[in-house]
Amino acid sequence: MTDTPVRPDAPTDRQRVREQRPLSELAAEIPDTPRKRKVGPRARRILKHVLLIGFGLVMLYPLLWMLSSSFKPNEIIFREPGLIPTELDLTNYSQGWFALLHPFHHYLLNSAIVVLGSVLGNLISCSMAAYAFARLKFRGRPLWFAIMLMTIMLPIHVIIVPQYILFSSLEWINTFLPLIVPKLLATDAFFIFLMVQFFRGLPKELDEAARLDGCGHGRIFLRIMLPLSLPALATTAIFTFIWTWNDFFSQLIFLTDPEMYTVPIALRTFIDSTSASSWGPLFAMSIVSLVPIFFIFLFGQKYLVKGIATTGIK
């Protein structure tokens, strides 16, 4: 690409930085007004809405089908696969909730514990590692970075058995430890890399200025990088939440006692290819388990889009 990207000239003005201007002043230069787009004529806006809704409906068709089927008695889900249910029957919900050894909220609670631990762990440990990879110079950085990426290139199926042996020798099987502790130790390279990319996208002048202000790495990390990377942190939190919430395989292997089962394992117990399956309750409980993540997302997404453009430094 021959065109160099358009760069702002204001913050690169070293002279002014040397003047040791307070950070808040510097930050004030970063515009915090939302981008003013000329909103097109009304008709165009409406057309956009119509297209978005229409496309959304097509995309959501499978989900809507599941929602509608969750209101049908188990037997007629397949015989009458139409989208509009002929009757609104809530038995799948009540039945599904109490079909297993524990009521369904028991599994929701277990999942919530695992999820909370994982989210906290990933937020802290991955952002720390990412700061080191993005901003610190140390020997062997490219090599360590390569090793980090390599750790996510092996399919889970060949590492789960050695992992099991490891956790079993630590007597961690059937506890939430094998699911949470690795997150506290930054084993999720996906998020390290994600945050590295975001940190590198932040103007370096900011931390240089901070350094001249006398900040050490700890304070730069806490006061500048983290607040400015809210979208990356929100992404990490939301993704960790959703992926842990949906993760079936490792939870299946590491949790052996039904007491400890989480939502994905509980959902699987509704169906069995060798005998009768309770599709209705499965759909109903799938919807139930989607509700928390949908709302987490709905409320969390505003942090996703709080970019540098809208964040001030205090």
Binding site: P62, K137, M148, T235
Partner: protein
């Protein structure tokens, strides 16, 4: 703190930067190093060791040297699974990224109710690995599914797309594109990091929207595009759940959706050949690491960092 102290500290800090930040790096990377040493390294190395053994899971492993690897290269199903996976990766990853970027731009700003739209468009990704997905996909691409109902309206008779050897892989590619939520969100977050003043400046200069896209959005978003590309690639090579659920674990019909990882899983857990599965996994790692290295090398030419 006195002024002198502060100045001294500042000088110290800046000198430290020039020399490297070994000590700080050690602190920031401590959790990661501990995780690598205690949790990640052993299973990784164990699987490497197992790839040179005959390991049934039920008995202790037995060293057989390179036998798993030589057997692999002579295995027609292995070749098939590699072909299926490459086809899938190279078609569905670019499509998914394009869809994600496109929708991220549409859903970025300038319209009411975007929060709601974003959440709705993310919903399919929540379902992507659900056990119910096989059934839902049949509702869309089955012989009597939505697609064929629409086609029938136009007088075209479709086939059962999900279970036809010529089309089954295609439906899984669509399934992958359909779950574009994750890269879309990352793009959205990235778009928000581009200061609006660039666009304002460009608008004043009279640059067209298209030019703005190529001269501002793409370069400034390039670290994020790069991230998505690298990780979707790594992820796509390991595609498992959807193929497993939709094909009932067989990779059928006629091995048309026999993904590399699905075959590996069937060998390891279905046929109790965990040694062979480990060899497959390490070969996959070589491929993916190679492609990632190429990606990193190429990134020097199109990814712009602010440092």
């Amino acid at each position: 703190m006195s002024v002198i102290q502060e100045v001294a500290k500042t000088r110290g800090a800046s000198r430290e930067t020039r020399k490297g930040d070994g000590k700080a790096a050690a602190i920031f990377l401590a959790p990661w190093f501990i995780g690598l040493g205690l949790i990640t390294a052993f299973p990784l190395l164990a699987s490497l060791y197992l790839s040179f053994t005959d390991y049934s899971l039920l008995e202790a492993p037995n060293w057989i040297g390179l036998e798993n690897y030589t057997e692999m290269f002579a295995d027609p199903r292995w070749t098939k699974s590699l072909a299926v996976t490459f086809q899938y990766v190279f078609i569905s990853v670019p499509l998914q990224l394009a869809a994600a970027l496109g929708l991220a731009m549409v859903l970025d700003r300038g319209l009411r109710g975007l929060a709601f739209y974003r959440s709705v468009y993310y919903l399919p990704s929540l379902l992507g690995s659900s056990v119910a997905i096989a059934l839902l996909w049949r509702q869309v691409f089955g012989a009597d599914g939505l697609v064929n109902q629409v086609l029938a309206y136009f007088g075209i008779e479709g086939v059962g797309w999900v279970s036809h050897p010529d089309y089954a892989l295609g439906t899984l590619m669509i399934l992958n594109v359909w779950t574009f939520g994750a890269p879309m969100i990352i793009f959205l977050a990235g778009l928000r990091q581009i200061p609006t003043m660039y666009y304002e400046a460009a608008s004043i200069d009279g640059a067209s929207k298209l030019r703005q896209f190529f001269n501002i959005t793409i370069p400034l978003l390039s670290p994020i595009i790069f991230f998505n590309l690298v990780l979707q690639l790594i992820g796509a090579f390991q595609t498992f759940t959807q193929a497993y659920i939709v094909s009932n674990g067989t990779g059928g019909p006629i091995d048309s959706t026999l993904f590399y990882t699905l075959y590996l899983y069937n060998e390891g857990f279905g046929s109790y050949n965990m040694g062979y599965a480990s060899a497959m996994a390490w070969f996959l790692l070589l491929i993916v690491a190679g492609l990632t290295a190429v990606n990193f090398f190429a990134s020097k030419f199109w990814v712009f960092y602010d440092d």
